[in-house]
Amino acid sequence: MEKDLWIRIPLSSNYAAAHAVKDVDVDVVAAYPITPQTTVVEKIAEFIANGELNAEMIHVESEHSALSACIGASAAGARVFTATSAQGLELMHEMLHIASGLRLPIVMSIAARALSAPLSIWGDYSDVMNTRDSSWITIIASTAQEVYDSIIQAYKVAENPDVLLPVMVAYDGFTMSHTYEPVYVAKDRSIILDYVPKKRPSWNVLDVEKPITMGVVANPDWYYEFKYQQVVAMEKSPEVLKEAFQEFEKRFGRRYGFIETYNLENSKIGILTYGGLYGTVIEAIDYMKKMGMNVAAIRLRVFRPFPYEELLKAIKNLEALIVIDRAISFGATLEGPVAMELATMAYKKGLDIALHSYIASIGQRAVTEEDVIAIVKNTVALLEKGVKVTEKSIYWGVRL
């Protein structure tokens, strides 16, 4: 990384997101404030007010309109951005499907937060996991630096003609959105725009010279093919994501993949999680190491498309995998949404691996290093009793 191209400043993940929006020269921002996302909107408004970003900011009257306006602006050929959390993301839900169905390269950041009722403004991933089947590429960042970098990468992937799907970049509400970390941001955004050039729109746009009809009615004779095209786009996206990550690393020196691993070589037990909790897990692993216990950490960075190959490689030599989910899929076979993916994968590949599903940090219930260690100990005890797959997810830290 060439040091003189970057400045290192303390930023919350929300501010990191706003800086990324400024540096990719977004044309239209439409967003509605909601805790803990609000400071993203405020920061972008400040950038525009100061002339640091030349963009139209639409102060919409709801999140539904925020994403609707982004759909309109993107359809007109603009680079667009929005951000939200929890209830806002739920209010957008209908539009999530329309944005991807219309194949518009919208990028959205999400300060992940618990869903009402009861009302909770605190961080978990219930909101993000609820969008699972909306055909958005989903990245979950675990540092403010990664939030900045991922949003930049997101435009490169979304606008690729082989993909043309919207992308969301999520991170923990409060524990990341409102805490500061040192972040490298570009001194001059030209280096970022070199990486994500604003060429003529790579997608179909509402051009008065070449009229098109968007958002048609598709009868049973056609609808299925439209949806299959989205399947194909998702299938092509890993290659595009990989190239985007590699080019990013080559240019800027910061390395990202679909997953991240820690202490994998010597471990028989692994812990898989996502978002800011990964940092806590790493701390716990370092501590356990000192106690003579080797445990690996795996972080899911890209949730959609699900990074099948990479995960397979990471877990194939493990004897047991602990998945700590931060959302509940009520009534599911395993109520941890990511654990369910892993179970499917293990079955498909005939892996001989124990799989223990834990749910934690719901409504931002604290998860400390001690919790992680206790989860590992609990798992070891279960393994000794011969429990290969937890019958139900284990609700860690809940008062029964």
Partner: protein, 319 residues
């Protein structure tokens, strides 16, 4: 600012010959929505982007792989036409400023939605768009019910009308509430131009579309749209019924251009509302007494409008 609707289209020969709505749509035979949209596009011309809400017009003109639209067109959902149009307007503004789009290119952005998509589910997005002042012309075609889903009542359904959700039974006789005064709700937002129009008075309607596209900021045109299927009338009667709406003052053609209010189609001799009502199956259940109740409502409204204009612009009932 003076209203310029008097200029423009004076006779039928002034109407552009170019068609931007291709033949072959799937609207019901005799649907007056087709007439409205066709004339709207003639006024707007080729440099136009239409944003259309879910509803009759959308489903019957965009069945893949066909389209009736010769101008750029987008449908997103039922409730957010105004928000989508806001996004398009903002994008074009900034892309012009950044030189991506030719800054001298004049473009019309038209939002087109039914009464359901405007007065009910879409009113929040519409209000937001008006308050923010986007330069979009919003055209509400008002067939007074949710026709696309099969004639359910909307906020714009008139009092006592039958719909499938306000059926006529032993206890209830159609819709209980009065029609939501949408154009006046919009006017309360203090936007530059609001008008009501009627396809039977097509030159008046087209001049209003023209004025709506010309003003700076948002404009709103509320167009009555007789629906053969939902109102239950013979398909050949659409325009006749539309004309009767104005002749009976069930529908008053007015405009509010900046602060200037005028009734654009004066009716010196008014017809009794029964002439309008008796042609439509949706009012079949009404007794003479019910019709008199409607007549009284209309009389009161005429009085109010005349007071606003300051003279008897709409005259008394002369059979």
């Amino acid at each position: 600012m003076s209203s310029s609707t008097k200029q423009g289209y004076k006779t039928v020969f002034d109407i552009p010959r170019e068609e931007y709505q291709a033949p072959g749509h799937g609207l019901c035979a005799g649907c007056t929505a087709g007439t409205i949209v066709r004339l709207l596009l003639k006024v707007a011309g080729p440099n136009t982007i239409v944003v259309n809400a879910t509803g009759c017009v959308e489903v019957s003109t965009t069945t893949f792989p066909y389209t009736s639209w010769k101008v750029s067109y987008i449908h997103v959902a039922f409730e957010n036409t105004a928000a989508v149009a806001s996004g398009i307007e903002a994008a074009i503004k900034i892309l012009k400023q950044k030189g991506v789009i030719d800054p001298n290119k004049q473009m019309n952005i038209i939002a087109l939605a039914g009464d359901g998509g405007t007065a009910d589910i879409g009113i929040q997005a519409l209000s937001g768009m008006l308050e923010r002042g986007h330069k979009v012309m919003y055209v509400m075609y008002d067939n007074e019910a949710y026709m696309n889903t099969g004639i359910q009542r909307s906020g714009a359904t008139p009092k006592l009308a039958w719909t499938t959700t306000t059926p006529v039974g032993k206890v209830l006789k159609g819709k209980l509430q009065i029609k939501k005064p949408m154009a006046e709700i919009v006017a309360a937002h203090r936007i530059p131009y609001v008008a009501t129009a009627n396809p039977a008075y097509f030159l008046d309607m087209m001049n209003k579309f023209r004025r709506g596209l010309e003003v700076e900021g948002p404009s709103f045109i509320h167009v009555i749209q007789p629906c053969t299927t939902g109102w239950r009338f013979d398909p050949r009667l659409g325009i006749k019924i539309a004309r009767l709406a104005t002749e009976t003052a069930m529908w008053i053609n007015w405009e509010l251009d900046h602060d200037e209010f005028r009734v654009t189609v004066p009716v010196p001799k008014r017809k009794h509302v029964k002439h309008y009502i008796r042609l439509q199956g949706r009012f079949n259940h009404l007794t003479d007494a019910d019709i008199e109740e409607i007549q009284k409502m209309v009389d009161k409204e005429v009085e109010r409008i005349n007071k606003m204009v300051g003279k008897e612009i709409i005259g008394p009932v002369v059979e």
